[in-house]
Symmetry: C2
Subunit: 131 residues, 2 copies
DNA sequence: TGTTTGTTTGCGTCATTATGCAAGTATTGC
DNA sequence: GCAATACTTGCATAATGACGCAAACAAACA
């Protein structure tokens, strides 16, 4: 498969928020789904800790599931923008997209904070326009 | 249900990483699972934009699924630490745990960066101890 | 060309999850 | 107590997802 990684960071902008920060833009279910499976998470952690590109075979060694399962998980992770795939000969190398991931995570945190009412008060300012 | 929200931030520390930053600690599948469903995401976005506690009924108005489905999703989101539940009379108010969410997201970003090799080089320093 | 190696894909199975409806519980007001 | 309101729970169904096995594919090598 000619892995066409999404060029924009993992959480692809969807539609603009109605009345506050660009929170919808960063709350992409597809992005979070990538991390919602324990096996997938351990694969990402394994590659992340390596700090370099890892082949499918290498990654498969660090967990107990079938080789084909690892292959499928890694492909999914690449599709959702978490990993970057690079083919070299017959070997497929997957690498964590550190910068893009960090940017997405921090952008979401920023967007959340924009929605957040004053740190102590809990009254908020909903005018009914948003929900 | 007496909603006992997890007191620690959403991503509950699990086990320490083998050879680098505390990345496993923040890569909690349960946390990400909360955001992996489109319906749930829209509910969170709705409450987040309001910036205050919203009742189940209010939230249900902003999406097309059954009332009971909303109730269940909100309960799940509270269990996974994304929302905070507060009962007032017969009304249940759900509020986004902004601070805890932001902290979790930023901690994960930090942990990822710790694993990240030098910004430009892609060689990394895997010694085989981690995967 | 045939074989080995590294990875992907098809397919069937099992488990989990999302959903709606109807019935249940809890709290308030009459 | 009784009815209304706000929400939760039980149950059945349909959809989705994870998994392993076997076969297919692609690149390198003999």
């Amino acid at each position: 498969m000619t892995q066409t990684n999404k060029q924009p960071p993992p959480a692809t902008p969807k539609q603009a928020a109605a009345c506050c920060g660009p929170i919808d833009q960063w709350l992409d279910p597809e992005f979070f789904k990538a991390f919602s499976d324990p096996t997938r998470v351990s694969l990402v952690a394994c590659i992340a800790k390596c700090g370099r590109g890892c082949s499918v075979g290498e990654v498969a060694e660090c967990c107990s599931v079938d080789f084909s399962v690892v292959s499928r998980h890694l492909a999914l992770l690449a599709r959702s923008g978490v990993l970057e795939a690079r083919k070299e000969g017959r070997t497929m190398y997957y690498r964590v997209r550190y910068a893009e991931l960090c940017r997405s995570l921090r952008s979401l945190a920023d967007a959340l904070e924009e929605c957040c009412p004053a740190p102590d008060s809990q009254k908020g300012t909903c005018n009914g326009a948003c929900c």
